[in-house]
Assembly symmetry: C2
């Protein structure tokens, strides 16, 4: 029976969940893996907080670097951020420790550097909890679908944004009111900007894309738009015409090109992702042999995230994935990241116009000039931001063309506010 010594750095929400699992299910995990996983050190600046978790006093330290320099086999980095966390991870790897982390920002920014360091030292670095909370989606992509060329990933991978959009849909609430509910329930942080602006989802899709295509995609490669501009009017329109609005993370791989984006999107109600509501996450991954597969579960929270962290520890203990995944090192050089201007999609456009005759003709005239074909136009006689809403959906057009046409339309006297545009994912 091998003994695997684990040191946890950062005993906040997820860290305390890891401690709880190892205390409660440690025996079961030992039976399943054949290895004894020992909680050897727990570091947190707040030592008193850790004591309350039934952690023996003699294994609590107040400084993460004490774990890095100890005799543990695995360092679990759960302090977050990309400064001290990066130092902790790099130094652990240099000290020959395996590393487990839930830090999506760290991998989406410095993944290449960290994985090269791990390889140099012949140790493993694992990050299941960085995407999709407790859902073993990285394992699925990395191992379960290894036989497949990945063609598409569609994800609802930010629980906060999904909760807000679900509330807006269920109760036709304005964005701000739904955000307040999310805050009240503890689903949104005091500063929720990373979640509602799409940055968190961009980190996650960068990580999934990297695994899928064998080259590091960073968060800077991802086109990002948040959910602030969505109104109940848009939600209602979408609903009437058979759609849901979701914050979607998308990666499409075709002919050596990757298209990576995070933005609100219209999704047909019949699409399996449309029924993913509240704080749940889901990832649809399509491979050339397996076809579409979906992974669904709690995308955040103490216990689900800790479940993924402990699975990584168990994998290291079982010597599964004992080295860095080869595909993250082969650095496929032939891959090109598509410019957002070249995205092709059908679009939803919501104009705010003065209530005068001729408005529809002016708008549609400009769209025609740019060769944008209208699928449906709809003008509603309700007050909307001081004017009336005019809504159109288009057939496929390039993002570049649509943006230019909208820019010209927004300069018209009859248009009162910047136009809201949203891709439709059929």
């Amino acid at each position: 029976m091998d003994l695997v010594k684990v040191g946890v750095v950062g005993c906040g929400t997820v860290g305390s969940g890891v401690v709880e699992i190892l205390l409660k299910n440690g025996d079961l995990i030992e039976k399943r893996t054949g290895k004894k996983i020992e909680l050897s050190l727990v570091a947190d600046r707040n030592v008193e907080k850790v004591k309350k978790l039934d952690v023996p006093e003699n294994i609590i330290v107040d400084d993460g670097f004490k774990v890095v320099d100890s005799d543990v086999d695995v360092v679990v980095e759960l302090i977050g951020g990309v400064t001290v966390a990066k130092e902790i991870v790099l130094k652990s790897l240099k000290n020959g420790k395996h590393v487990v982390s839930a830090n999506k920002a760290l991998f989406a920014s410095y993944g290449k550097e960290l994985f090269e360091e791990a390889k140099r030292n012949g140790v493993s670095i694992r990050f299941e909890a960085s995407v999709g909370g407790g859902i073993p989606v990285i394992k699925a992509l990395n191992e379960g679908l290894v036989a497949n060329r990945i063609e598409k990933i569609l994800g609802i991978i930010n629980g906060t944004a999904n909760f807000i959009l679900t509330k807006m849909t269920e109760n036709l609430l304005p964005f701000k009111a739904a955000l307040q509910i999310a805050k009240d329930r503890g689903y949104a942080e005091a500063d929720p900007s990373f979640d509602i602006n799409g940055i968190d989802a961009a980190h996650k899709i960068a990580i999934l894309s990297s695994i899928a295509c064998g080259r590091w995609i960073t968060v800077d490669d991802v086109y990002v738009k948040g959910i602030r501009d969505i109104t109940p009017f848009d939600i209602e329109f979408a609903n009437e015409f058979g759609y849901r609005i979701k914050l979607l993370a998308v990666a499409k791989f075709e002919n050596g090109t990757i298209e990576v984006r995070v933005h609100p999107a219209f999704l047909p109600k019949s699409h399996i992702l449309s029924s993913v509501d509240g704080v749940f996450n889901a990832c649809l991954i399509e491979g050339d042999f397996v076809g579409p597969t979906l992974y669904y579960g709690m995308g955040a929270g103490k216990e689900p995230t800790a479940s993924a962290v402990v699975a990584d520890i168990a994998d290291i203990a079982s010597s599964r994935g004992s080295s860095v995944p080869a595909q993250l090192l082969y650095q496929e050089s032939q891959i090109f990241i598509k410019n957002p201007e070249d995205f092709v999609s059908s679009f939803y456009l919501r104009f705010t116009a003065v209530d005068k005759p001729g408005v529809l003709s002016k708008i549609s005239g400009i769209l025609a000039k740019y060769g944008i074909s209208i699928k449906m136009a709809f003008q509603k006689n309700v007050g909307f931001n001081g004017g009336v809403p005019v809504v159109m959906t288009t057939h496929d057009a390039s993002f570049k063309t649509v943006r230019r046409a909208v820019e010209e339309i927004d300069n018209l006297d009859v248009i009162l506010n910047p136009t809201f545009l949203c891709m439709i994912e059929e």
Copy 2:
């Protein structure tokens, strides 16, 4: 660079898919795993068929035992059945070969024996493709959720039955007409009894339950009922009252007891499994820390199933799970398999009665005598098998009590046919 030599025994549908993947995506798999997977031998009685797959003639043999006795590292058993297949697998293990197989019947009947043989010889035996086709659900359960005590598994894991029920629901077709469509489309075999009687799903839930609880559950431990008795009337009633009827595989773990069953069930439309239609499969797995997680995809077919087989080969090549999963050997002795008589559920009951006054009173009188509380009763004035249908749903009751009450009711003069009963999974 290590070389891993693979021999495929049985080159039918799935076997030819495995060959195709290794030929098409072999380079990619090598980059991802860092190992070269070589197709070294292919055995099939029909040598000519194999030649057409671009397999070099010198690696084709006509006898599976030639693969077993060759120098390959991994034997892939894809001939099916439990006689020759069992010999092939056992002899391969004895010869020190790792084994990959998609043979659910084999594992659900002889899993214990095969795993003990693998352990004796220090080799690996993997079976991802035996459940859920291309969906990496066994990997999820075995590795991704290793930190969790598994509380519940709910699966739609037979594509043929799910296709038939979907067709019956969409077009209100009788069972036989929907079965014919399934046959015409190649989704049902000439003899479809294993699929429609629930045996195939029972094999699969036996395998999943075994992994979840650390003790071999065989197909004989599973309560099984098929879908033959479902009528369009039941489907329509379910729909009106907010349900779908699905062939559900269920495993519930509580206080050292397992309840394992396969049967048609009423499922609320809002349940995520209700939207799993056609030949798709899905498994909902709940753990004590991770909460509910779902895995969805193509549950059968050449390419998805081959994707799972190749993932197992790649795992062996990468030495992930290089030995038998420990949990399938620890043989938890404290686990008790619940007698179907003790299942507790709410029920849907459809009686066929003569069209006379007093029928409802007689039926409900007997239910009352047995202490079964009626949630809803509904008598429809339409012809049904020579009488009129009387439908009831109950509150929670034990299967034993409901069966006895129904037996007594079926002996009434006013009842024309055996009563159809179906559990409601809320």
